[in-house]
């Protein structure tokens, strides 16, 4: 997969008298947006088929005139080629940009079309934005201020339709707010391939509903809420929890799997309220699974660890890192980690391993992916371990080698970075005898018996990068502060390293880690944290093509090698 190399063919189009270059064949709505001209639209969505029903995108369209007989350009008095304007306005969303497309988006006719459509959309709409959950991110609201007339001529009774319909376990519908744009219907049919939504009744009485006996219960159901331009479809989890204009969006990456879905994490005053997909046409288009959106609940989970501990007793960070250094230096050490760590954390761990050598094993977390945006690898960053040189082999499900070494007394200390070693096959009695240092976010059987426990931060509380199944390097930003007193994992690792080296810890920022990685990690040469675009950078993964990764085909993903033991479930 390569990107950005081949120059896309450009088309010259003229918008309101000005010439622009846009990608040839791009939908006109998108093409105009790409050069900063807004064509208001409701039903059109870049990743769905064109329905052309809202009529908000009506523009005037024309082509330079040619003589029918001779094919010669027809010129006006000034010698300029005349434009043959179509007698009726046309919807922009049903056309693609091609050379010589002329459009008017500001003419009196276009203005009148928009005013008309806005007025029509509002006549049967319950104009109660103050109590509507969509207010603040509602296209109807936005466009009526931008393109509406601002007053109503409607004195008839409004239509009455069902309110608060539960379409499925996670989606609630207010039919009165629905503008019948059919985006949700098309999503279910075309993307989810699970058609459950449709309209009943006719005309202005048309009502969105589920097919008889069906529910909108797919794991992708919440995408309908994202693309609903109005407050008709709402997330049952999020609705009426928070006004959206109070929320701050932070660009992040979903850790549900190695698909690396791009997300936006919405928070206010350190609390996360929802996660929505962020468009990346190379990874997840505009979509994400419902399950990934629920991951923020882990931030405030009951079993979240917030105290540094030595032998179960609360201690300070300094005491914990000191004790960790002591244990690491007792004898032979082994490290257990996984693709849950960010690239920066994996690199920092490598630095520690270089100082205090020991075997590094990744634990595999496989799952049954859905062939879409949930891959078979339940961690976001196994490839980071390979690229940073932390590991050479793919993760293992059972820590057999480590168990043998512990049994033989060949390993004295184990450092676990968030891995439940007991679940990975090491008997608790054996672990109790070893020196166990545990860094992680949540309690588990292993952390309960660790000699040193250092709580760390979730993906929402720190910044960094992951490398997804496509070898796409993508960055995530910190959305909320972590629990008081906790530090980024990179700093913890850096402090332990400093302890071991007897040096001063540097507390490097993510860009600083990147400055060092760019020099030491060949794949990152020439990169910096700032240089990584929001949609990621595709790295060359060919060196690892022979490895039997567990991922199988998904959206925007073709496995390079045969998947590992596709039949055996771990």
């Amino acid at each position: 997969m390569s990107e950005g190399n081949a120059e896309p063919k450009l088309a010259r189009i003229n918008i309101d008298g000005k010439d622009y270059q846009v990608p040839d064949g791009m939908n006109l709505v998108d093409a105009c947006e790409s050069v900063g001209v807004e064509i208001p639209h409701y039903c059109y969505h870049s990743h769905l088929s064109v329905a052309g029903n809202c009529r908000m995108c009506l523009v005037e369209m024309g082509m330079p005139m040619r003589d029918r007989a001779t094919g010669e350009p027809v010129l006006d008095d000034d010698g300029v080629q005349k434009i043959g304007w179509m007698p009726k306005p046309a919807i922009a969303c049903a056309s693609n940009a091609k050379d010589g497309t002329y459009i008017k988006t500001q003419s009196p006719l276009v203005k009148s079309c928009r005013e008309g459509v806005m007025e029509f959309l509002l006549v049967n709409h319950p104009l109660d934005c103050p109590i509507c959950d969509q207010a603040g991110e509602c296209r109807l609201q936005e466009f009526s201020t931008d393109y509406g007339r601002g007053f109503s001529r409607y004195v008839e009774e409004k239509n009455v339709k069902p309110k608060r319909t539960e379409l499925g376990p996670r989606v609630t519908l207010d039919d009165e707010r629905c503008i019948l744009c059919s985006r949700c219907v098309r999503f279910c049919e075309e993307i989810d391939e699970n058609p459950v939504l449709g309209f009943i009744e006719r005309g202005s009485h048309s009502t969105l509903t589920c097919f008889p006996g069906k529910k909108l219960d797919s794991n992708y159901s919440l995408n309908t809420v994202d693309i609903c331009p109005v407050g008709a479809l709402t997330s049952t989890d999020f609705r009426f929890k928070m006004r959206v204009w109070f929320l701050k969006p932070t660009k992040s990456i979903c850790t549900e799997s190695s698909a690396g879905v791009n997300t936006e994490v919405w928070s206010r005053e350190g609390k996360i309220y929802r996660i929505t997909p962020r468009r990346n046409d190379e990874v997840n288009d505009s979509w994400m699974a419902d399950s990934g959106r629920a991951l923020y609940h882990t931030v405030e989970a009951e079993d979240r660890m917030k105290r540094f501990r030595i032998d179960g007793q609360v201690c300070t960070l300094g005491e914990a890192t000191l004790r960790a250094r002591e244990l690491i230096q007792v004898g032979t050490v082994a490290y257990v980690a996984s693709g849950k760590l960010s690239v920066e954390e994996q690199y920092s761990l490598r630095k520690l391993v270089e100082k205090e050598p020991g075997r590094v094993t990744f634990v595999a977390h496989t799952q049954d992916g859905d062939g879409r945006l949930i891959s078979n690898d339940a961690t976001p960053n196994v490839r980071g371990g390979l690229v940073t040189g932390l590991i050479k082999q793919l993760p293992v499900t059972e820590l057999e080698a480590l168990r043998d070494k512990l049994a033989a007394g060949e390993v004295k200390t184990v450092v676990s970075l968030g891995e439940d070693l007991i679940a990975a096959g090491i008997p608790p009695e054996m672990l109790k005898k070893a020196n166990l240092v545990y860094l992680g976010t949540h309690r588990n059987a292993t952390s309960d018996i660790a000699k040193v426990v250092i709580p760390t931060l979730t993906v929402f509380e720190k910044s960094g990068t992951f490398i997804n199944q496509q070898f796409r390097l993508q960055k995530f930003a910190q959305a909320v502060p972590g629990p008081a007193g906790l530090l980024p994992d990179v700093w913890i690792l850096d402090m332990i390293l400093a302890e071991c080296e007897g040096a001063k810890c540097a507390r490097p920022s993510t860009p600083q880690v990147w400055a060092r990685m760019a020099e030491e990690v060949p794949a990152f040469a020439g990169l910096s944290y700032a240089k990584i675009p929001d949609t990621g950078v595709l790295l060359d993964g060919s060196a690892y093509a022979e490895l039997p990764f567990p991922e199988t085909k998904g959206w925007h993903y073709e496995p390079a090698a045969e998947p590992a033991t596709a039949s055996s479930k771990f």
Binding site: G52, V117, L121, V123, N124, E157, L180, R202, G203, S204
Partner: protein, 453 residues
């Protein structure tokens, strides 16, 4: 000076002893044209249809031969033929007689058309309310199949095509050709956007498809029967052949009549053929071609230069020749040929409210301007006829219609807008007068005190 009817399509309609079975049809020379056609080259048949200039009878009046030329033959996909038998436009009742009384004429016309365009499969999409019509057609198809006029290897020609009758479920919009196609495919009858879904390229099941009206298909039989250039000699330039005129409303003898296009005027039709107005009444208004066409007001005059003759004309409504070209000169359309006549007992506000009740009910609801505009106009005219009209409603109605016209997915938008615009242009004074006198809230405009129908 009565003009004679020229019954071609309706030759046997209402004829004593004429039955819809195939024996009767063949006794009267049926299927001879198909036998002749099947030996000809399909391209030549298409050429005859093109040369004849015959136009579609479903309302839009588009030249049929031209439509067939638009077929995408390069795609390599099968070509389909659909006969539009959804006849639902208020005031239109012409296809019905063909279906019920002379179904084989339609089937013969369809098979000739199917052979000409080399269709792989043909359908008749018939309105749900024509229950017996559907049975009659199915029966006729079986009769024709038994005689090898359709089905496999038609008359040993190697050409195969079957006809399937598909019943609609009672929605006007399924008469719009792309809504019809969606419905035929088993989906909601939502008209498609054009571009890109022109039926001739991306029709039924995304294959090139021709949709023609029942009467158009029947006309094709006669085009091939007499030859394109011979057919073109009848009627007028731009509108050759005969038209079936369905006259309804306030005349003595409403009914269906077939005349050569342009050979009879409105006045002759209404007075001589239909027996004039009801006793003591005078004509007030005429909707010339199905309820969506623009209304004419008796007493108004139309002037201009006629494109066919190049001569100046100065006509009252009575003087307008009934052909598509002349009616267009007068700012309206021949449409489906359904003439709706209103006399001076008609309350024009009730008239528009009646039309809006229909179009508000029949909008498919897909696109915003038609969906919301038509129901708005419906609710509004209902209120207005209920005695609660406001003066400003009159201009508002016109403005709403202007916001619909030309901005919708299908021509249902125009079907809503044109009546409002034309009634406004011609009867605004009556609306305002009624509003001024609506007084007791009963609101019936009947200054002459006729018993209301």
């Amino acid at each position: 000076m009565a003009v004679e009817q020229r019954r071609v399509i309706y030759k046997h309609v209402d004829e004593e002893g004429y039955t819809p079975d195939i024996d009767c049809y063949m006794k009267h020379g049926g299927y001879e044209v198909l036998k002749k056609a099947i030996g000809a080259k399909p391209e030549d048949l298409c050429k005859e249809v093109l040369d004849s200039g015959v136009t579609g009878r479903g309302g839009a009046g588009f030249p049929t031969g031209m439509k067939w030329r638009f077929l995408d033959r390069k795609s390599g996909k099968p070509i389909y033929l659909i006969c539009n038998a959804d006849e639902s436009e208020p005031g239109t009742f012409k296809d019905r007689q063909i279906i019920y009384q002379d179904p084989h004429q339609l089937i013969e016309g369809m098979m000739i058309s199917a052979f000409a365009i080399q269709a792989k499969q043909a359908w008749i999409y018939i309105r749900g309310e024509f229950i017996n019509g559907a049975r009659i057609l199915e029966n006729a198809i079986e009769e024709a199949r038994a005689k090898n006029f359709l089905g496999d290897n038609v008359l040993g020609s190697g050409f195969s095509c079957d006809i399937v009758v598909h019943r609609g479920a009672g929605a006007y919009i399924c008469g719009e050709e792309t809504g019809l196609i969606e419905s035929l495919e088993g989906k909601r009858g939502y008209p498609r956007i054009k571009p890109p879904y022109f039926p001739a390229a991306l029709g039924a099941y995304m294959c090139p498809t021709i949709v023609n009206n029942v009467e158009t298909m029947a006309q094709v039989k006669h085009v091939i029967g007499m030859g394109g250039s011979e057919f073109a000699k009848f009627g007028v330039k731009g509108d050759p052949g005969t038209h079936i005129f369905g006259v309804s409303g306030h005349v003595q003898k409403p009914g269906y009549y077939e005349f050569e296009a342009g050979k009879i005027t409105v006045g002759e039709m209404l007075y001589d053929v239909c027996g004039g107005p009801l006793p003591g009444r005078t004509f007030k208004a005429l909707i010339p071609g199905g309820s969506s066409t623009k209304i004419l007001r008796f007493g108004e005059r139309f002037t201009g230069k006629h494109p066919n003759t190049g001569e100046d004309f100065d006509w009252g409504v009575e003087d307008i020749p009934l052909d598509a070209v002349s009616l267009k000169c007068c700012g309206t359309f021949l449409g489906t040929g359904g003439l709706i006549v209103m006399d001076d007992s008609t309350d024009m506000m009730e008239a528009i409210a009646n039309l809006m009740a229909f179009y508000g009910h029949e909008s498919c609801g897909q696109c915003t301007p038609c969906r919301e505009g038509s129901l708005w106009l419906n609710k509004m005219t209902l209120r207005m006829t209920g005695g609660a009209a406001r003066n400003q409603d009159v201009d508002l109605m016109k403005n709403i219609a202007d916001q619909i016209e030309g901005r919708t997915i299908c021509a249902h938008g125009e079907a809503v807008a044109w009546p409002v615009q034309s009634h406004y242009n011609k009867f605004k004074d009556e609306w305002l007068d009624k509003i001024a006198h609506q007084g007791n809230g009963n609101g019936r405009y009947n200054p002459k005190g006729y018993p209301l129908i």
